[in-house]
């Protein structure tokens, strides 16, 4: 009898713990986003401490402009600008399925110090036409070169971001891709970037 009660108790503890309430959810229906990218399990959720505040660089209000100017909502004609929920959805439906890539357009140092989980670092300079090796990247993104013409029909869907509304690196990368012929319907832009991602207490991945 006691043994059964004990088993019951253990069972309830385990269930109880896994049911610990997530008070700071992403949406009413979504406490956390779990997915697998390249065999790596990822969990994106929000910081659960309601008193948490940002400290450090992302609390700055007045960076010098130029170069840190406020970017327009639209990065290039035809390229969709998205928010956090769409980023999560993109990770879930495109990246996890191998159909899309989330690109961090910042320089490697910034990427190392924290990025959106599942993102790949493609610094904006590498997509510039001035990079003589850009074709290699376009190929890695799924474009195929056929006699001086690029065929982007099999290319990945790309969602680009950088440090946020005061960062022009992702928009520059997008404009470079568009001028290279990348189809605008395969591109989207997360304007909030790391600034809003951190502001919302969403999970950050370090790449030391």
């Amino acid at each position: 009898m006691l043994r059964i009660a004990g088993a019951l108790a253990v069972g309830s503890i385990v269930t109880g713990q896994s049911l610990t309430a997530q008070d700071v959810r992403i949406t009413p229906d979504l406490a956390r986003q779990s997915l697998t990218v390249n065999g790596q399990p990822l969990v994106i959720e929000r910081i659960q401490d309601p008193e948490h505040r940002l400290t450090g660089d992302f609390t700055k209000t007045s960076r010098a402009c130029p170069p840190f100017c406020i970017t327009p909502m639209q990065s290039a004609p035809g390229v969709t600008t998205v928010g956090e929920i769409e980023v999560l959805d993109f990770l879930d439906t495109r990246v996890a399925a191998g159909l899309g890539l989330l690109l961090d357009s910042r320089v490697p140092e910034w990427f190392a110090k924290g990025s959106i989980p599942g993102a790949v670092n493609v610094p904006f300079t590498t997509l510039d036409a001035a990079n003589p090796y850009r074709d290699d990247i376009l190929q890695a993104l799924g474009a195929v070169k056929t006699a001086e013409e690029w065929d982007f029909s099999g290319a990945q869907d790309l969602l680009l971001f950088c440090n946020g509304p005061w960062c022009d690196q992702a928009p520059r990368a997008i404009r470079s891709l568009v001028s290279a012929g990348y189809p605008v319907e395969k591109l989207s832009f997360y304007r909030g970037g790391m600034q809003l991602w951190l502001q919302l207490g969403l999970t950050v991945a370090m790449h030391p």
Binding site: A5, G16, D49, F58, K113, V122, V204
Partner: protein
């Protein structure tokens, strides 16, 4: 028996409830402490903040020493140690990348991207340095433009000097031909200091930081530095204090021979205040 069972169940459920709430608290606490770390990480991302990075005086300023070779060696090491300082490195790198990248830099950066995309070409597996520039300056510039980490720059320099592909001292002192490191630093420093308005404004900000020379504790020996061709005050400040804005400290300590910060001439013996 039933009563006993009910009693036991009641006791158990209370215990379970307590346990669950306890575990819940624990969980929250863990998350909270986890995010403190992350907040700390975030506060580390401050390329603009030059305060508090300075370490105790670099041993390298022995550049005032006697023999030529060890002196250059020390200078080289001090420069390497500068690049190890993250904040300064970031700042210089920012200036360096804004001047545009070299082909070799782009090759390495592109290979980094390709590796990230899981499509690294076999050729890229070879050390990018092997095909890279042969002078120390070019190595530094390349690494900076690539946006490489300070550890990488340090490693690459040591490796290149170690296997004799470049000779550090010559590359550093020769002001003929290519840009030497000092002038490179100078130009980068000018660039990074330029948008900060007048030097007076810089002084104002600097004075907010603690441990400026006025406190000058009893110093056993005064550290001096002999100005080399191509040196700038900001470059010397960077070398000794790890920040270009500290040139003001050196300037103030050498007012007797410096009418202006730009009046630095090769051969001058500058006092480097111990902070």
């Amino acid at each position: 028996m039933i009563r006993l069972f009910l009693l036991a169940t009641g006791f158990l459920s209370v215990t379970i409830a307590l346990l669950i709430s306890q575990l819940g608290d624990d969980d929250d606490a863990q998350i909270a402490s986890g995010e403190v770390t992350r907040a700390d990480m975030a506060s580390g991302l401050q390329p603009g903040d030059l305060g508090g990075v300075r370490q105790t005086p670099v041993t390298a300023p022995a550049a005032t020493g006697s023999a030529e070779a060890p002196q250059m060696d020390a200078m080289f090491r001090s420069i390497v140690s500068e690049y190890r300082r993250p904040v300064t490195g970031d700042r210089l790198r920012q200036a360096a990348t804004s001047t545009g990248g070299t082909d070799d830099g782009m090759r390495a950066l592109t290979d980094g991207v390709l590796a990230g995309l899981g499509a690294l070409r076999p050729a890229a597996a070879e050390n990018p340095v092997t095909a890279g520039p042969k002078s120390l300056n070019a190595l530094i510039v390349q690494a900076m433009r690539e946006g490489q980490s300070d550890a990488y720059v340090d490693a690459i320099l040591n490796e290149a000097v170690g296997n004799g592909r470049v000779t550090a001292p010559e590359a550093l002192v020769t002001s003929s031909g290519e840009v030497d490191t000092a002038t490179l630093l100078d130009s980068l420093v000018q660039r990074s200091v330029a948008p900060q308005a007048a030097p007076e404004a810089v002084v104002a900000t600097r004075s907010a930081t603690p441990a400026l020379p006025d406190i000058a504790p009893a110093i056993d020996e005064v550290l001096t530095y002999r100005v080399q061709p191509g040196d700038s005050l900001a470059g010397i400040a960077l070398r000794h204090y790890g920040t270009t804005t500290a040139y003001e400290i050196i300037y103030q300590a050498n007012r007797d021979q410096l009418p202006s910060p730009g009046a630095v001439r090769p051969g001058m013996i500058l006092t480097i205040p111990d902070l």
